[in-house]
Symmetry: D2
Subunit: 338 residues, 4 copies
């Protein structure tokens, strides 16, 4: 990767110092798998954070977290309703099909990768209940969405109510859950179980972590089989203390929220500088989708800025927990000057 200022991906960013330090602390002799002292504290620590009893499993990737959650909710004969731009549909290499043993994803539209309750109703009403048609078993939404929009608690609750009405599980892909909490100012509890969410993939890797995400089950009984599936998928690491320690470091002193606020602030500053007319979507997390000609993109890159070409005439800028605000200012000015 060349020199310059990166707005390429939050996966490309550094791990934050507290997480690195936690790895050192976790390098002690302890019981293998999830029998160690760190792993054993997870349920309690996340139960406190979510103000209810939860089961919290560490897992190395968001894809695994998402798909274990879906498999816990959806039988092979069933389907998961999601947006057609959802990460589980577009960017997980077919992992949902693997983990669920071939359940379907049923795709909905919706601006900014958000799902509306009415779209769920419409889809479900068109499905005959007979055995010839696959029946939905769960809904998965992403918060913040793949286009950087944040669901408010009331929006999640409207979907949650529809899910309950139809006996569907509700999963939230929270790869950028921290950014949604930071943006909405609503609590983790309000955005999840109080709004009807049954399982949350709580992302830390894009937010300063290394390789540990949390899979949260609000009905802890669902976690029992998920723990077996996690092992069966080869995700039960023998030195799990190194993952658990990352998660504990991230939630201690609300580091996850501090990091997300910093990334959101950088994105907001960029949005302000770029101007509304360039923004494809409202900026409600740490991602911007910016209208830009190919020539303009070349001009910005010539100034040392690094970012992703999202679509013809559109680039994606992602800010990180440790984004240099001086560089943000320069990029904002450079876009404004285009």
């Amino acid at each position: 990767m060349g020199p310059g200022v990166r707005f390429f991906s939050d996966n490309a960013a550094l791990a934050c110092p507290q997480v690195m330090r936690a790895l050192g602390d976790a390098n002690r002799v302890d019981i293998p798998y999830d029998g160690d002292a760190w792993s054993q504290r997870l349920d309690a620590a996340f139960s406190t954070l979510f103000e209810t009893k939860v089961a919290a499993l560490w897992v190395a990737t968001g894809t695994a977290a998402n798909c274990l959650a879906l498999a816990a909710m959806c039988p092979p004969t069933g389907a998961v309703i999601c947006h057609r731009d959802a990460h589980i549909e577009v960017d997980e290499g077919g992992a949902p099909g693997f983990y669920t043993h071939g359940a379907k994803l049923m795709l909905l539209g919706g601006a900014g990768a958000k799902i509306a309750p009415a779209a769920i109703v419409d889809l479900c009403e068109r499905i005959r209940p007979d055995v010839h048609q696959v029946q939905p078993a769960a809904i998965s939404i992403t918060n913040a969405t793949e286009y950087g929009l944040s669901y408010r608690a009331a929006e999640v609750a409207a979907i949650g109510a529809e899910a309950k009405r139809r006996g569907l599980g509700l999963h939230m892909d929270g790869a950028r859950f921290a950014n949604a909490v930071a943006f909405t100012g609503e609590t983790p509890a309000e955005l999840t179980w109080r709004a009807g969410v049954d399982a949350l993939s709580f992302g830390f890797v894009k937010n300063g972590g290394i390789n540990a995400e949390a899979l949260i089950f609000f009905g802890p009984e669902r976690a029992t089989n998920a723990r077996r599936m996690l092992k069966r998928a080869g995700h039960l690491q023998s030195k799990g203390r190194f993952l658990a320690a990352q998660l504990l470091a991230m939630i201690e002193d609300d580091l996850w929220l501090t990091n997300a606020r910093a990334a959101n602030a950088a994105a907001a500053a960029l949005a302000e500088g770029a101007g509304q007319e360039r923004l494809v979507h409202p900026v409600e997390a740490n991602e911007l989708f910016v209208r830009m000609t190919a020539n303009e993109a070349v001009a910005l890159r010539a100034q040392g800025f690094d970012f992703y070409d999202w679509a013809p005439g559109e680039v994606r800028l992602v800010t990180s927990w440790n984004q240099d605000m001086e560089a943000v200012g320069r990029l904002a000015a450079a876009i404004a000057a285009l």
Copy 2:
């Protein structure tokens, strides 16, 4: 975990300092997934080590490495021949069935969890080739075995020849491959591809690593689909540089071999002290299976030694890369004094 001297599990041991240091070095901005500088060096580095062109993938667990290798070799309609005490049969929570979409494991006996070519012949000859019976597609052996025995290159080659004769793939579960190389004095090449091995799960976690194993394909073309399966299984970490860096640290200056020699030496010293008549199996790696009454075990534990009850009248002692030789001496003496 209480105080005392641990011979409980090599998974319980510390990560070695070079690996910890590598994590710090890898904490740089880089391309996500396996596009980073460290990951991109793996093929070349392992090709040098194995004296042939290989594809080397990082993966977080030995279970995932094993099962990705098996799935690359065995169709859902097929079977993998292995020992009935093999880790893939006994201790992976059914992961082979998950990754292969339901292929069978066909089980063989054999002292010390070793498979003999004659047993393979015998099994295969009893299978009708018709569609009513599942046909074997691969063989999996563990080196060092689950009971701490090391296959010599000639033994592997005899199995490899049988595999080739029957069109079967050959996988080696090398969770303790380093210990086998250290014990036999044979080269990585001699113990693997020169003896007919098609894929190797090369373990580092039990040997001083944290959470990175190497999956080596000697026919690199097999790796192409395995890379897709790895993603589909949720194992493609977005900050893969932290895994690749561990592997590179381990093979630099033959750290992996130094560590394994140390663990083997500790095991050999214990074996010497314990005396032949107590040993259930020859000690050819870093594990000892020791005949011991329940009272004797209590007596040892009272002296602060920590180990695993394997079976009635039998305990397992595992030595690590950093085993304190003074403690080894004390344990050896304590066993001798029982």
Copy 3:
């Protein structure tokens, strides 16, 4: 089912006398599974019909035929491109996901459930070749389509060329293949392998059979694994002679074509009577989709006609191999008189 004249479903129709007679003939002692004299004649008989060497397997349902074909072409990590109204997507209870171990269906639009080559190109060009996105491995088209349109050979060939260019397999769901042959006047060979089709589900059940469909592989080598999958799916009947005999009876003296022509003629007569403005789709097989108010439907049913409510303001009429032409005339007149 009440009295009246049925245009409800070709699955509801009678089996034709030649097929019933064949069952009696097949009731002899013979080798189980597909070792009997009838089953052994299938490859040759269908090779003659298709003017090339084919492998022909009997299977009890079109769903099984379709999904075995797809699984023979598409790995679990891959995808099958099809129309969003395709039977495999809409009406097979998720069977493609089961047989392919979780491969995706990628959905295209297109009038009358027909796929256009341009739509395939457009879809494929938007897929990144990396491991994060599922890659298409096959295309499946239905001929005649779910809305009763028949692909001409040239149309199939255009899709076939695109498939070959991209290394994709091409499957044809021919639940009503006979009707397509009858309508287009093109030969079985022209509509399939000469146009690039690799596998055909050749339907007989809707065309006067009982419970035997033919699964035709134009590359017979693909059939080898399909035969194992067929057994593994529990579809290898022990008295296969009763299925093979049905297929042989159907292709003897071109009974399949005679039956399809009769059904098509009945549909054409209905279409003529109903008038173009009522037809949602051109009538090119044995199905009509007819615009009709709820009141009109009630009026027709009051006259004893039986049919399926397809959508608001639309009914489906299906004609069978033995449709009574006098009743057809009455229904046509009744529609015209609405």
Copy 4:
């Protein structure tokens, strides 16, 4: 198949006249799939036979019946305990792995392919309950067994009690259930649900049927998901009336029992003639496993008798519902004369 007298397989035998006649009767226009009048009568008819409320599904093969039952009882993460000579292990092409999405079969020994409760206890006690080891979820027994032995109700009940104690489902592969009922003189109810059986594959094909077996769920709620799996496996035939009619014909006037008694009587006569010392297993159904040198087998075949070489020095003789008793007498005499 050459001329002679067949003792080769009950799959090779004729369908009985009542079943053939039922096919003709079922050739009426009716609702597709299982909506027809015959299919709709199955639950009631089998509930009467079993003296309890059951759900009865038709399915074309015993393999499909077995595997649908197992999949209804055993999650992908689980295991089914069975005999190592069980049909599901040996002769179903891996179908249990397909239908259960990779659950394991755990194999037990036992004379005559019978499982003893003590063997189940022993197996289960050796399994650690942790996630590293696969946990059993069901037991499958075959009655009559693969070696022609019949479990008595008390034997089944002992297994059933053990299953209940451990929370395991109990499946009975009854490919030759009729023969077991005929031999033991115990009722269908006594041999199944009263003894703890949850699901029964009730075979008719080997007993004079064509291609319809019954899958009986004694807890009808289990059938709901099984009906979806049946469709998803491509086993929901569109003209199901032709299968349902076979089953109804077989249970009307206890034809199934009459047929089985005839086959058993033929086997008993052969056993008597052959003499105890030649019999590998007691003859308790319609199969004999007879010690015989290769030369003796040649001699019998020269007299026109047809049978299966089971193992070196052992042949299998199977009698059918319509076995010619005169031929049985000649074969018995021929064996006695060897």
